[in-house]
Symmetry: C2
């Protein structure tokens, strides 16, 4: 007998974006981290954390964090299931609801971890292609009749938002679960969170990795009706959120002003970078996230990715149809954005030359 | 369609041991925590941790921690797969290797999370009862022909060790995986770790929750051949170990002397408590762990559990055949052990009265 299941053996593992060695001097615009530091309250919580408390098991429900999150999200605590990052919530959902006769669907391109999870469960996947404009293919997703439909909104890599009314239509027409992965929602104009009250089959995922600048902490949530969360939680690790992440996440969420200020800076940087790239002839999709989905004018995305990397500027290039000719670029600090634009200087001079002539 | 799989719907969730509210004044001998604090190096690592580092994703392989653990365990780093506590490793294994036609087996009573995992995967479970002496039922487990066999050694709740030669025999006779869960091995006389070199189907699980006094941190490992770990890691969360747990775990493992000193104190306490209870007429199984599996002389385990709880002394009572009449008691500090024995004072006087007459 093989030591693992056949579908595990033949699958390729998820490949995360490259992490430079600690201390490396790079402009890191490849993994959609927030360029600004977390709230000072996180440092305070860290300094005030009693290491001896680590001796005991943490609260398996992360109750204190759940209370803080409930207040921020405006829901009751039992509508929240804390997780070891939203990956953990995605795994719980795939494991609780996915199976060979219960397929997992999503529109592509999107976060490829959904594909990983579907393949682990041998639950499809059913992939529905996004069009050029990355509008949510409601009709095709509803027609798929999947047990679980994942929609990242804002989506990665496209940065585009699925409007709440379209998500409501999809929820209405789905007999299975609709998971709205709002990892990037802090940078967006709207949230689908109100749908959890209207639909018993909707789960909204949140994370502290992006808006709260805490990708290293590993804290996220599933938000849904308590009866559904109770089922999903049956697949959870007993103590999935450690005592330290729970304490620091609660501290971060208690400081909405800090998060909001960083989000405002990122949104301003997003507008600057969008303009700068468009001036250089790039196609840039309207982003509701903290990154841009872009197509360089010469169609030389792979070569440009390498050239930028050689200059210490990391952006993300994905292989595959519809991806090869594009780059996903995280919005950095103003300085980082300027470094990127300066590195693309030739493009600008071309654009400027053309303008001067016209 | 139901929102989750049928086997999820009908299963009951894992129930962790009761955690008293923070600050409650109790003698907590119910969840097998180490009564002594973690190494001062953990506090140093906490104080020296730069909160701004949490902005970025952690190393998905927890490489630095893996290197430290490799040195401690005397294996190469790629023989180690870090996990969010050993629960996380157990989940990865169940998910990668369990299925309806690939059963999960274990001897009972044992850590009931194996049962939870088997039910999630609809992979049996195949349960083989331990006898009165909790000797490993090698024959019956081998005959089960399971895809995955879990053996906790030392086992909970019995505290008994499976000798390495018996585990070797089981590995030899298994066509599936043999998982030796060594959560409590720091308190034992031997480890099955050398089996990973002899057998390609053996995985040894370790945790920092017990010997290192870090149950709240959530760090454990799977240790096995790299080719096998590569398959298991396909089911892992992308960043399963956060930056803080990785840093603090590395600090704790770098201080073997501290851990060894605490282990020595627990082992001494274990001997004292064993003697104290036996003098009171209790049956106490020889323990290789940091807890005792005991049977009170009057067969009144449930009532005693309640009576002790009312006095602020928490021990663990499990319901079910072969469990009802017993209590699992964590070895505490010398003071905590003395408080427990004092609370059972009547037993001692009976024993002493009898002795005085003989």
């Amino acid at each position: 007998m093989s030591y693992v299941r056949h579908n595990i053996e033949r699958m390729t593992p998820y490949v995360p974006g490259a992490q430079p060695p600690p201390g490396a001097s790079v402009v890191k615009l490849n993994t959609n981290e927030n360029p600004y530091p977390p709230s000072p309250r996180v440092a305070e919580a860290l300094a005030g954390f009693e290491p001896a408390a680590l001796r005991a098991y943490p609260d398996p429900t992360a109750g204190r964090l759940r209370n803080v999150a409930a207040e921020v999200l405006g829901v009751k605590p039992d509508w929240i299931l804390p997780a070891n990052g939203s990956d953990d919530a995605i795994m719980m959902i795939a494991r609780a609801a996915g199976a060979p006769d219960r397929e997992i669907a999503y529109a592509t391109p999107t976060f490829t971890f959904y594909d990983t999870q579907a393949r682990i469960e041998a639950a499809g996947p059913v992939e529905v292609p996004y069009g050029e404009d990355y509008a949510l293919p409601v009709e095709a997703l509803a027609a798929a009749g999947a047990a679980v439909t994942f929609v990242a909104s804002p989506n990665s890599p496209s940065g585009t938002l699925a409007p709440t009314d379209q998500l409501a239509e999809l929820a209405e027409r789905s007999s299975g679960l609709l998971i709205v992965d709002e990892a990037y929602v802090d940078f967006a104009d709207e949230t689908a969170l109100p749908l959890i009250e209207r639909f018993e089959n909707v789960v909204v995922l949140r994370t502290l990795s992006k808006g709260y600048s805490l990708a290293g902490l590993r804290v996220g949530f599933a938000v849904a009706r308590p009866a559904l969360l109770e089922q999903l939680a049956k697949t959870k690790q007993i103590y999935n959120v450690g005592a330290l992440p729970a304490a620091l996440a609660a501290a971060a969420m208690s400081d909405q002003a800090w998060k909001d200020a960083n989000v405002a800076k990122v949104r301003a940087g997003r507008a600057e970078l969008t303009n700068g790239l468009r001036q250089r002839g790039w196609r840039v999709w309207d982003s509701q996230a903290n990154f841009l989905w872009t197509r360089p004018p010469e169609g030389n995305a792979a070569a440009l990715h390498e050239a930028l990397s050689a200059r210490g500027i990391l952006v993300r290039h994905f292989r595959g149809a519809g991806l090869d000719d594009k780059l996903r670029i995280t919005v950095g600090t103003d300085e980082q954005n300027a470094v990127l634009l300066a590195a693309l200087g030739d493009g600008r001079s071309k654009v400027e030359d053309r303008r001067a002539k016209s």
